[in-house]
């Protein structure tokens, strides 16, 4: 496939890996921010090509993983109501709430539907004027423009039966929270390419300057990621701390200005709780007052929700790069994709799911197991 096969070329990957090995003289810790990058790294075995000096730790950029438990519980409560058609992206369905997940609600009679776009949910609302259609609007800056567009259209159409349960989160405040943490080990970031295709990368320049960290805008295919790592390592070795764009075929400095204008029209900044990480100031978006009528939390009475997180789950440490999934005592034991304790074990972008599914350190396997050989380097 054009523009995919080219970025999975084995010989070029080996050349980039050799270049990284040539550059590196000491240990460096890099964080890939986006869960899509984490999965590409583990799925393609990119970490296996890196020299032992380079450690990749996996960032909080998985929208499914950081959506707070209280909001999942609210989603479950709304989805169970008989008048509601609850629409979600597919990978939210298996994320555990305090008691159950959306699959369970569906099997118990809730009308839960997988959609590919919030505009599909809008179409459902027009088809079913007698039902309340609720879209689970989660995600980073990447998914926000489509959600904003759906709300604008709902207002234009005067729809009274469409609303959105929103938990939009933003990358730059999360990077800043990680950098300010006393336990931080991250020395350079691979910024999330798709987020930057919307927002550009001008927001990252002050972060790189203030904290003295290289930030490299990086794509998702093996060569994209290796090139991002190569540039980050080169900056670290040379003592530079700049923002570089290693994903120019999708990202410009300014980003998508019309999308940004739409986001500004619909959303305003708000403090957000990140699952496993706590509240980060000004780290999310909520609907502006002019659009607040489409907020599902306003439309439905949800006062009773009392979330209960598993005491064994350490996904917060995983999301902040303090713990490898395999270092969690519950990994592969109490916590597996079929019995997940936290969202990081179920989401298609969750670090724990990536380690479990693509094979990393499974305790029940013998010493010649490739899962052991594939154990990522530790700092």
């Amino acid at each position: 496939m054009k523009y995919l096969a080219e970025f999975r070329d084995s010989a070029l990957a080996q050349r980039l890996a050799a270049e990284i090995r040539r550059l590196v003289t000491r240990r460096w810790v890099l964080m890939e921010v986006c869960g899509g990058q984490t999965h590409s790294i583990i799925r393609n075995g990119i970490d296996q090509l890196l020299p032992p000096e380079v450690t990749l730790i996996h960032g909080p950029g998985c929208p499914v993983c950081v959506t707070p438990l209280a909001l999942i519980d609210k989603a479950l409560a709304i989805a169970a109501r008989p008048e509601v058609i609850f629409c979600s992206f597919g990978d939210m369905l298996r994320v555990p709430g305090s008691q159950k997940d959306l699959f369970r609600v569906k099997s118990e009679g809730g009308d839960v539907r997988v959609v590919y776009s919030p505009l599909d949910a809008l179409a459902l609302a027009r088809q079913h004027p007698d039902r309340q259609v609720v879209f689970f609007g989660i995600g980073f800056e990447t998914t926000a423009p489509a959600n904003a567009m759906a709300v604008v259209q709902a207002k234009r159409l005067g729809l009274k039966n469409f609303s959105m349960l929103i938990s939009h989160v933003l990358v730059p405040p999360a990077i800043e929270a990680i950098l300010r943490s006393p336990a931080n080990r991250v020395q350079a970031f691979l910024a999330a390419g798709h987020v930057c295709s919307v927002m550009g990368y001008w927001q990252y320049v002050p972060l790189a300057q203030r904290y003295g960290v290289p930030i490299v805008v990086t794509g998702f295919e093996p060569l994209d990621i290796l090139e991002g790592i190569r540039r980050a390592v080169a900056q670290l070795e040379e003592g530079r701390a700049e923002v570089e764009n290693a994903y120019p075929r999708a990202v410009t400095y300014e980003g998508n200005r019309p999308a940004q204008a739409l986001l500004d029209e619909v959303f305003e900044l708000t403090d957000r709780a990140w699952r496993g990480m706590g509240v980060i100031p000004n780290s999310g978006w909520r609907l502006r007052p002019a659009y607040r009528e489409f907020d599902a939390e306003v439309r439905f009475d949800l006062a009773e929700i009392q979330p209960q997180e598993s005491p064994l789950c350490r996904s917060g440490d995983v999301l902040q790069g303090r713990l490898k999934p395999t270092e969690c005592p519950a990994f592969g034991k109490q916590c597996t994709p079929r019995t997940p304790l936290g969202a990081t074990m179920v989401s298609s972008e969750g670090a724990c799911a990536a380690y479990y599914n693509y094979g990393r350190l499974m305790p029940e396997h013998s010493a010649d197991d490739p899962r052991l050989l594939a154990q990522p380097q530790r700092a």
Binding site: I46, P63, D91, F103, F140, T339, S348, R371, L373
Partner: protein, 352 residues
């Protein structure tokens, strides 16, 4: 697994306790389905070797019969490249063929939803009749039930097939051993993505057609070409290539190593999968088979596959190793290694 039902164990089996009600994933052909079989059906019916094949082989005076059954629930009833009618014939006869059995008879049960248009029903049955002719089987018994509107998806079809296993043919995962070569008869993922493209109303640049096809003719050619060296055949239907490779690795107690670059995937299927965040290894096929062949005859079997109209894009995709037993590994395109796990339930399209 014990071969006797233990009422205490199967009344509330442990792994099923997490699911007080059936979820869609229990029908996905992955781990949840396997748990349902292992902890409920197999102990209840006293089946010890339930995981071993697509069809059961029974010895009767003078010969061996293969028996397979399958139910078909697909929405929409008609999709690019086929319909529930072709699936109902090809799905069951292919299960027989994977045991080396020549399909002979089918039964057909229809559970029809009140309100289904007679034209649609007639079209489904017409497609079924054509498919039966193509597969060279006769439909010899059937049943009709109608359920109230809202209690079915148009029509559900169950077919049960009977086939004859030729003398000397013995195929099954128990014969797979280290050193065997793994072949696939063509590109993967077409059926699943064809269904998804119409079910979800997704518009791709080119139509993706289901690959539904009767495989016995190809199987007969492979048995002739491979003889004793042909060890096992599986058709990678729901759960895709990943599910059957994991089932064989577990049943045979071997490791299967697959070279990602060698697995044929059509560009349109690859593009559609990329768009939705799906992995073609887990997408269903309805007209492909995976063959496990002793290395010395793998070339002959591959040549024979490629000479058949249903095997033109056949390829050698991997090999069987001794260790680590029960595990499927993939050599990635850029030279890394990963595990190809058994799917849990359904694949879920990603958020972004």
């Amino acid at each position: 697994m014990s071969s006797f039902a233990d009422p205490g164990a199967w009344a509330c089996p442990l792994p099923l306790r997490d699911y007080p009600s059936v979820v869609i994933g229990h029908g996905g052909g992955g781990k949840l389905t396997a748990e349902l079989i292992a902890h409920l059906f197999a102990p209840a019916f006293g089946l010890a070797d339930h995981a071993l094949g697509d069809a059961a082989i029974v010895e009767l005076a003078g010969g061996r019969l293969a028996i397979a059954t399958d139910s078909f629930v697909v929405r929409p009833l008609f999709f690019p490249g086929g319909s529930i009618g072709e699936l109902a014939v090809n799905g069951t006869t292919n299960d027989l063929a994977m045991m080396g059995a020549k399909p002979v008879y089918l039964t057909a049960s229809f559970i029809i939803e009140e309100g289904l248009s007679m034209d649609a029903l007639a079209a489904v049955v017409g497609r079924m009749a054509q498919a039966a002719q193509r597969a060279n089987v006769r439909v010899i018994a059937g049943d009709t039930k109608v359920v109230e509107r809202g209690h079915g998806d148009g029509v559900f079809i169950n077919t049960t097939g009977v086939g004859v296993v030729p003398l000397g043919v013995d195929l099954g995962p128990q014969r797979v051993r280290p050193g065997d070569v793994v072949l696939i008869s063509g590109a993967i993922g077409n059926h699943g993505m064809a269904i998804m493209s119409v079910r979800e109303g997704l518009q791709f640049e080119a139509d993706i057609l289901s690959d539904t096809a009767p495989l016995y003719d190809l199987v007969a050619a492979l048995i002739e070409a491979g003889g004793e060296a042909l060890h096992a055949l599986r058709d990678p239907t729901r759960g895709g290539l990943a599910a059957v490779l994991n089932e064989v690795a577990a049943a045979a107690g071997v490791c299967i190593r697959v070279d990602e670059r060698a697995v044929p995937v059509d560009a349109t299927v690859q593009a559609a999968c990329e768009m939705l965040g799906l992995d073609p290894f887990y997408v269903a096929n309805e007209g492909k088979l995976v063959a496990f062949v002793a290395a010395e005859r793998a070339g002959d079997v591959l040549a024979r596959m490629r000479a058949h109209p249903l095997g033109q894009r056949a390829a050698i995709i991997g090999q069987v190793l001794a260790q680590p037993a029960g595990v499927v590994t993939v050599q990635t395109a850029i030279g890394g290694t990963r595990i190809l796990p058994m799917p849990l339930g359904e694949q879920l399209p990603r958020i972004c």
